[in-house]
Symmetry: C2
Subunit: 255 residues, 2 copies
Amino acid sequence: MLSRRNISFINSLKLKKNRQEYHCFVVEGSKLVEELLHSRLHIQTIYATPQWIETFNSQITAKKTESFPVTEKELERISSLKTANQVLALVDTPQPEFDPRLVANDTILMLDNINDPGNLGTIIRTADWFGIQHIICSPGTVDLFNPKTVQATMGSIARVNVYYLNLTETIKSFGHNKPVYGLLLQGKPLNRASIDKNSIMLLGSESHGISKHLLPLITHPLLIPSMLDGAPGIARPESLNAAVATAILCWEISR
Amino acid sequence: MLSRRNISFINSLKLKKNRQEYHCFVVEGSKLVEELLHSRLHIQTIYATPQWIETFNSQITAKKTESFPVTEKELERISSLKTANQVLALVDTPQPEFDPRLVANDTILMLDNINDPGNLGTIIRTADWFGIQHIICSPGTVDLFNPKTVQATMGSIARVNVYYLNLTETIKSFGHNKPVYGLLLQGKPLNRASIDKNSIMLLGSESHGISKHLLPLITHPLLIPSMLDGAPGIARPESLNAAVATAILCWEISR
């Protein structure tokens, strides 16, 4: 049986400050935890129904992970989901060190103050799909280990390296070796631009765009043109969703 | 002051069956309600702080809409948002009639059982950006007037026509006049396909893909290739988020 102390500890990880203090976070759902069992991340404990533990027994043993059988009622008491799943895992937070030499020929995605946890998770999942392995977030970006972010990554959190760094300094550290793309209203239409894979893609938040102090660092302003641009008297959306804009950029880089 | 009856009526609209019975839904937030004031949708009542009503007075008058001043405390009691905004509007549900003749030369987006309300809203917003004006949803798709969908459309709900129809019958009603694109694992890579604007784009849910009975109706299976496809021993995400996949298709059609 789950102790009260355990229940309250796991629930405390819904808050960023506790995740930071204890260097661990929560992953829920059979598909996601199964992905983690095959990943490089270190799982501290798996809390699951006895049937789940039986089904995944060999993988749990291979990963040398502690498993703890719980009832569905107990899972409900520690879950962040509306409908608790069969399994919840306590996972060490990965803390990758950023090494500019490792990404010298890669696309780097930079996120400036993305504040929606679901958007951040979807961006990580999309980057993973398109083979982008490094994402640098401004310190003001929502926490990677927020339960909603973790769920939205659909397992990609175990593969993509996410760093929280000062964006100005990091861009400057590359000197002039990488073009810096950024979506701006006065940018070049994406369909008429040629995109270099060896580059930095800078994305801002939906509500505030890219921060003012970063604008001078953009070497190639881009624009995803709306079909409604220039049509007189026709209202159109003010912007695209941040994850959608990122996806279109990632697709253009990969196509 | 808001009556108890009003409060309980507005809160009852969080449920689909009540929105269907009373033919109205709720829109929250200053930006969204401002968009509605300039739209074709009919607003029954605006509940807002006296400052909001004062600021938007001329637009409220022009729209011939009833406005009702409320306190922030009262707004909290009727809001679906974590942090209630300055304004909430009660809006008649639009019920556009589908007329195949009106869309004879257009791109039609078809959604097969998309179940996440946020995804549906983001898809509508993206379609709007790319000038797609008609979305046909299977009856099993999440309700357009779900508060999370409404918020995620960011105002596009007032511009894009959304219909709930039987997809098989609707596709068949076009005869062979429109190619039917669908994302399938064995589809043609999108970067090697030529895409016709005058077409149907069929999107399935993330968890179940496109329903089996619709598969024979797809004339052009497509695939958004992952950069990690074919790389031996490398795990990759199982799929893209439904709104992300739709966005990449919309962009390809428009570019």
